[in-house]
Every structure is written in C-alpha cells, then in structure tokens.
Symmetry: C2
Subunit: 493 residues, 2 copies
C-alpha cells in the first residue's frame, strides 16, 4: 500500500496521510469491510511516526471512512459517507470529498486560465464570453475622466498621497450608506476595510482566518479566485454543491457535522460561475448552520448591484446576529476594474487583524479612486449608471439565452440569472470544454472552461459565458460559431 506524503508541503502530515488513505478508498483500491495493516505498519508505509498515523486514522474514523474494532484492527467502513449526487448544476452529479489539500486544477492552469481570458478579451477581433468585467460601452469613462480631473484640481497632491490603510473615510461612509439603502445596515461594531478589489478582500480574509492545512467550504462549482488563493496558501477546500436555489444547505450540514472548517465561502447573488441566486430560505439556513458550528462565512458580493430581474434578497450579512459573516464588495464589476477598489466588512475584532495584513500587503488602496467613488455614490451618479447597465445586461442575457437555445446541442442545460454578467452551461457529458476552448480560440471565440471552477477536477463538460460583454448581434454570431464548433467536436468524438 503506497501512502504518499510530501515533507516539504505546508500541509500537516496527518492530513496528507488522511487524504492519501481516503483516495485509496475512493479509487476502489481499498473496499468496504477490508482489513488494513496495523497502525505501526501503516506508519512505516507512509514514513511517518505512529502518533501522526493515529491522528490520521482517528480523523478518518470520525468522518466515517474507517472503523477500528478493539483487538481486531482497522477496517474500511462498511458504510462509507453518502454520495450526495442530486444537484443539477453539478455536471458529474457526484462529490469526491477531499480535505487537507486541494486537488483541483494546478495553479498554473488557473493562472493561465484567468490571465488568458483577461488578456485576449482586449482584442477587437475576438468575441469574448470569457472574463467578467463591464464592457467598454458601459464603463462610465467620460464621467470618471471629468470627475477625476476635478478632484485632482481641487485637492492636488493630497489626492495622490497615501490613503489611510482602512480607507478614505468619505468613501467608507458612502459605502455604509449605500449598503443601508440596499437593506444591509451594518452593526455598530462592523467596520469597513478598503481593498484592491474583492479579490484582495478574499485573500486577506483567508490569510487572517486560516493557517496552511486548515480547511474551508466552497461552492461547487465555485469562484476560481478563491480556489487559486487557497491553493497558494495551502488551505484545503471541501465542496458543497450548488443547485438552482443556491448552496445546498442539507449538504452543508452534513459537511459541518463531519469535518472541521473555519469558513464557508459563498456568492449568494449571481453566483460565480453559475449565476444562480441563493434563495432567502437558504440564506437563513446557511447563516444559522454556520453560526451553530462556529464557522465564519465569507460572503462575496461583487455584482449584487447588478440585479435586473425580480426583487432583491438582502445579503446574509443583513440577517440578525451576523458577527460571523464577513462581507466583500467591489466596484470592479459595476464601474471599472481599473479603479482597483473593493471592500471588506467585518467585526471590529477581526478587523484589527485584517487591517494589519492589508498594511503589510500593500499599505493602502489608491486614494483618488476612493474619492471618485465616494462622489459617484453620494451624487446619485452611481445609481444612474447602474440603471443603465442593468437595462443593457438584461437585454444581452435574453439575446444569449435565445442563441443558446438555438445553437447548443440537445441535452445541454443553461442557467437563467437574475443579474450579473454571466451564466453557466452544462453540455452533454462527452464534450470536453477544455479541448473545445483550444479550437474556439483559433476561431477567435473565448469562454471560461468549467473545470477551472471545481477544486476536484470535474466540470469538463461545463462552461461559463459572459453574456454582458457584447451587443446582441455579436452574441448571436459568437454563439452560432461556438455551436458549430461543439457539433464538430461531437462528430469527432
């Protein structure tokens, strides 16, 4: 029996061993009821000491993978943890548990994936449904230019100095007011930290709340930025499925009972990548479960302001007793990513540590961007801008749904988001979207392959499509060409 451990890894040995044994069970190399070697022999096989092996075996027993029978030894459990296969956005319909170490796309795949979708989207010849940012006809570049010039004229060098690490007060006050108007009144001891987009908010929260080898719960499929950050920080991820109503709360409860988690990362509004909105019932239950199990929630809400259909549901952070909820917002998706401004809301107690980490990370975020957004929020220009963006995005989504209905192969499923800029498509299982992307790239079409959004190497037949980046006719044309490529791939198959 080969138990691989990596002594150079930041992940504690017992977690590595634990995962290694669980993988053998998942791969069917160890079967229910099968007897394992003694603790001492297992330790020798893995090259770890007995105490480490004992810890690993104990963890596996608690999680339901192993049993020990006094005087008889260690056995693979007769009743392995259940297969939670019933979530329609999850392409394979099964969940391979993993903990301690992430086993998703390699960092270079993720990085290259992100980089590529961002880079190529700039070429005018490319029809990009890939990266998600406001299209050039929506970014209020004229407004930004005029107001930025005015602020620089009025304030001079002061607008170009270091901002306070926490942020420019005028801006954080405007954010507070804006959130209140959206139904999220912050508690008296909730503070706001200005960050370099929501991505930095996520990174800082992970750095401050977790250590290498600890674990978080993430949505599956889930935001690739959090998967990438966890991989780099040596933080383990356990997936919780997403269905049409958002994060599956029953599955969350199962996970919470079985393992030790520090944090749940979720995107309740227009989830990334599915575009699904978490229902109010789910939000309440997720909030309550995490509170009961002592787990932080990192609620990422980069595009909640972009709802174009139906009634808004307040963020989880707006529920009573939300001290365990950290809330991340951004202006990258709503105004322009180049401002590099987002924010993180957290209780004072956690904020002390977040502020220190921010300071050591890059001292502060640009003051000028904050002054500009403060004015945009307070003057009503932001609200006006949003109305225009929402109207346009709704129109583009409709165009994309119509095109997808025409050009995707039978058996495909797509989501119908109530806001944001992207939707999720599940193609027939035989289609490999990573391979499809190569051909699409040659044909000057881009999308983001589904596999990037799973920490456990699934989602090969899925893709995320940005419906907001192009006007309707270009959407129709691009999807038609993409549909043709898919049909070609099917024939080749």
């Amino acid at each position: 029996m080969l138990l691989h451990v990596d002594r150079d890894s930041a992940i504690p040995l017992h977690l590595q061993v634990r995962r290694s044994i669980r993988d053998l069970i998942l791969r069917g190399e160890l079967n229910p009821g099968q007897s394992l070697p003694s603790l001492r022999e297992l330790a020798a096989a893995a090259g770890v000491n007995k105490l480490t092996m004992l810890k690993a075996v104990d963890g596996l027993k608690r999680a339901g993978w192993l049993d020990t029978v006094r005087g008889k030894g260690i056995f693979v459990s007769e009743h392995l943890p259940p297969d939670d296969a019933r979530f329609d956005l999850d392409p394979a319909g099964d969940n391979h548990f993993f903990e301690g170490a992430p086993i998703g796309p390699a960092p270079e795949e993720l990085a290259d994936g992100i980089q590529e979708t961002v880079d190529s989207a700039r070429s005018p010849d490319v029809v990009s449904f890939g990266a998600i940012f406001p299209p050039s006809d929506i970014v209020p570049a004229g407004w930004v230019r005029m107001r930025q010039t005015a602020i620089l004229k009025e304030m001079g060098p002061a607008a170009l100095g270091y901002a306070s690490t926490t942020g420019v007060e005028r801006f954080t006050a405007a954010v507070r007011d804006w959130l209140a108007a959206r139904g999220l009144t912050l508690a008296p001891d909730d503070e706001i930290l200005v960050t370099g987009g929501a991505q930095q908010a996520i990174m800082l929260a992970l750095q401050v709340l977790l250590r290498p080898g600890e674990q978080i719960l993430i949505e599956s499929p889930g935001y690739l930025g959090v998967i990438s950050a966890c991989r780099l920080l040596g933080i383990g991820m356990e997936p919780v499925s997403v269905d049409k109503s958002g994060l599956d709360a029953d599955q969350l409860e199962t996970r919470l009972k079985r393992g030790e988690f520090r944090l749940l990362f979720c995107v309740p509004d227009f989830q990334n990548p599915t575009g699904v909105t978490m229902t109010e019932t789910r939000r309440r239950r997720v909030h309550e479960l995490c509170r009961r199990y002592g787990v932080y929630i990192l609620e990422d809400d980069p595009s909640g302001d972009l709802r174009f259909t139906g009634k808004a549901i307040p963020p989880i952070k707006a529920l009573p007793d939300s001290g365990h909820v950290l809330y991340a917002g951004s202006f990258s998706k709503t105004v322009a990513p180049g401002l590099r401004v987002g924010y993180l809301v957290a209780q004072r107690e956690v904020m002390v540590r977040l502020r220190r980490m921010k300071e050591a990370s890059d001292i502060c975020s640009p003051a000028l961007s904050q002054l500009l957004l403060a004015e945009m929020l307070a003057s009503g220009a932001y609200a006006r801008h949003l109305r225009r963006a929402r109207r346009e995005y709704r129109r583009r989504k409709a165009a994309m749904l119509a095109a997808l209905a025409r050009y995707l192969p039978e058996g495909s499923r797509v989501t119908d988001p109530k806001g944001g800029m992207h939707l999720w498509a599940v193609l027939p299982e035989r289609i490999d979207t990573m391979a499809l992307l190569k051909r699409a790239r040659e044909a000057q079409i881009l999308f983001t392959p589904g596999a990037l959004f799973f920490a456990d190497r699934r989602g090969n037949n899925c893709l995320r499509l940005n419906f907001a980046a192009n006007p309707p006719d270009r959407i129709e044309d691009g999807i038609a060409r993409l549909g043709a490529l898919i049909r070609q791939a099917e024939r080749r198959h």
Copy 2:
C-alpha cells in the same frame, strides 16, 4: 525548567522549543557549562515528543548554544556565540539572536506606528518628520492631472480595465530602459512584475520564497514594513548590523555559517531607517556570500533615484550572476504613493510563482497609473521631476543637519545620507523616544521612534527623521521644539 510551546502557532514546534531554550541561556537562567536534563525529560517539560526535542537540541548544537557529550548528557556550551557589539548605528551595541519567531514590536505597535505617522502627517498644524513620502510641493500633481486626463480621453474605458497581472507592457518596458540607464541591465531571463508599491513586492516575495517558521536575515535597524510582514507570515528574522558603510558583511558571514536562511532583505541605497548607503565593496561581498550559501537577496530600492550627492553605486542586482537577487522598486517615494505602483524584478523561474501569487492577491495593479508612469519615464518628465526633487531634498537635509547640530543634546549622533528623504539619530541612551513621541505629539511634532525598526525590541534611544517633508524654516522650528522636549525629558529623568 519551563519550556513554553504554542500548539496553535504556525511556527514548527522544534523551532519554538529551540528559541525557548536559547532565551533561557540569554536571560542567564542557564549558564555556560551547566548540565541539562535528559532528552526525554526535556521533551516532557515542553510537552513535545522526543523527536521534536532532538531536532531542537541538534539545531542549538549547530548554532553553538549546546554541547552533547556521549554518555554524559547535554550541556550549555562553554563558548556561547560571540557578541557582535561593534556597530555604531546599533544603539545598544549588542545583538540578541532570535530565530524561528520574531520578538520585535507587537504587530499592533507596528501597525499603529505606521498608521499614525501617515495619518497625522496630513494635518497642516503638525510638523511631521514621521512618515516618508514626497511632500506636497514636490508631487507633480499638475502634470499627473493633465496627462491622466489626456490618457483617459485618448484610451477611454481601456485605461480603466483590468491590466495584465504582470503589468502594462509599455510600462514594464519603460522601467527596463530606465534601469538600464541607471546601470542595471536586466538579464534575458529577468522579468518584471508590477506591484502595489514596493511593499507588495516584498510581501509577494516573502510569500513565495518562504514558509512559516523559516527565517530571513534583515538589517538591524531595518525597514518596518518587512518586520511587520514577517511577523504576520510567521517568518523568523535574524538581525545583521548596519554601520556607516551599510550591512556588516563579516557579521553576515557569521550568521550564514551558523543558521539556515532563505533570504536576506536589504536596502543598499539610503537604507531605511538609517539613510546609509552600502559601499560597493560591501555590495560585492554581500552578493558573493549569499550566492555561496544559497540565500536569495531581496534588494529593496524605493528611493535610489533620489540620490543628491556623490556618484551612484549600481544596485547589487547589477553585479554579474545575480539570479539569486530580487530587486524591488517603487514610484511611491519618487512621484506619488497614490499611484500604488512599484515593481519586482526576478528570474523567470521565481516569477512564475510570483505572478500567481499576485493574481490571487489582487489580480493586477491599476492600468491608468502604469500608463501614466510609462509616459513620464519615456518623455523625460520623470528625469526632470527627479532633478527638482533632488535639489530640494539636498537643501532640506542641510537645514536639518544644521538644526540637529544646534538642538540635539551632547552625545547624540546622526547620519548624513547621500539621498532619499530621511536620516537616523541616536540619542543618549537614557532617552526613550517612544515616550518622547507622546509628548512630541501633544506639541504637534512627529517622528518615527527607533524601536519600530528593530525586530528585537531595542532602539529606544533612536529616531528616524524625514528631512524632506518641510521647507528649511519649518525644519529649524520643528527641530528646535523637539530639542526642547528632549531636554525636558532629560531633566525629568
């Protein structure tokens, strides 16, 4: 014998135990030649297993703190590591070694210290010699406004989108050219990563090259931003003294022989906080030593462009065979911190990991700032701006040196930097500058207390003074008032 370990700490147990035993020796609770309990008893005292204790004892033996005599046991070494007390910028003249865990100012002291100097410097009533950034009469705010407006007009939304994670190519190319003109021609496989100021360059390098519990070498006194980052990342720091010619290379060699280090952090030009320039001889020796011992150098050069006296010495990175040198630059000290743009130069091999970490940290740095600086560099506006800044800073330094000569108490020493914006003062030992700062703050004068620049709680009688922030008459007035406060403190003493 009490050996304290913290099982929740990110620092490996054996390093915690090692530090704990060394601290007992340093505090005189264990004396040279004294016999220690057995390995098993030591392990029990610390609550760790024997293997961990063996690792700790081995480390202490290698470093010269303990001896073991076969059949007799473990003894405190008769010849403890030497006291390297001979460096005139080091206020106490001794070096307490520490490793595994930093024991400098607590993170909150550091954070509050940095924050306070930045915040208060904005009040017009305060004479600030504290934080270091270009003064408002030097920041080219008019130029920035005009050119920023022009770029936004010309490029529109494209200037407000995501930049490539590596940076805007036009900008990194301009940096490459500028560095070449300064005598630093990058190697073919050296790449440039744009960062949120030099601070982010430092943070990324530490995250990518080190794990919690590993150690770096830092200058003593040294840059508080690196001390703060190391504390937060659980990285140990070992100080190497700075004298009038820069980092002490003999001491560096002693350290390199004794311990295992991954990286040396240093600021060869206008060192922070002393303002000292490392001589060419020292640079060569530091480069050579680190190469021989397989240690990376992180060369931080935020203000090398601000030399106003004497001939420039090329960066360490400019020496042949500098693959082990990472070079960090910034435009925060030279143009304006609000641009939030610095950069990191590293070999391609390391850059792959740096780029991923940057992407997970905050995706990219602002494109508009990069476009602006690209133009400033290429058009000659940057060179013109520097000429003006240098002329002014030289004048202000002269004013401050004159004022310090008049108003500091006998026995004080100050450095005479050849560039940059700050100098270092060592006051008579009885003066506690942390206490002095409280009274100075009431009197509306700010400086940065020396203790913030030592990882090992020394430097109480030192302070860093920014000489560039104020015109000469205001400098004279501020230093006169500071001098009066020091005399008061001395009388009280």
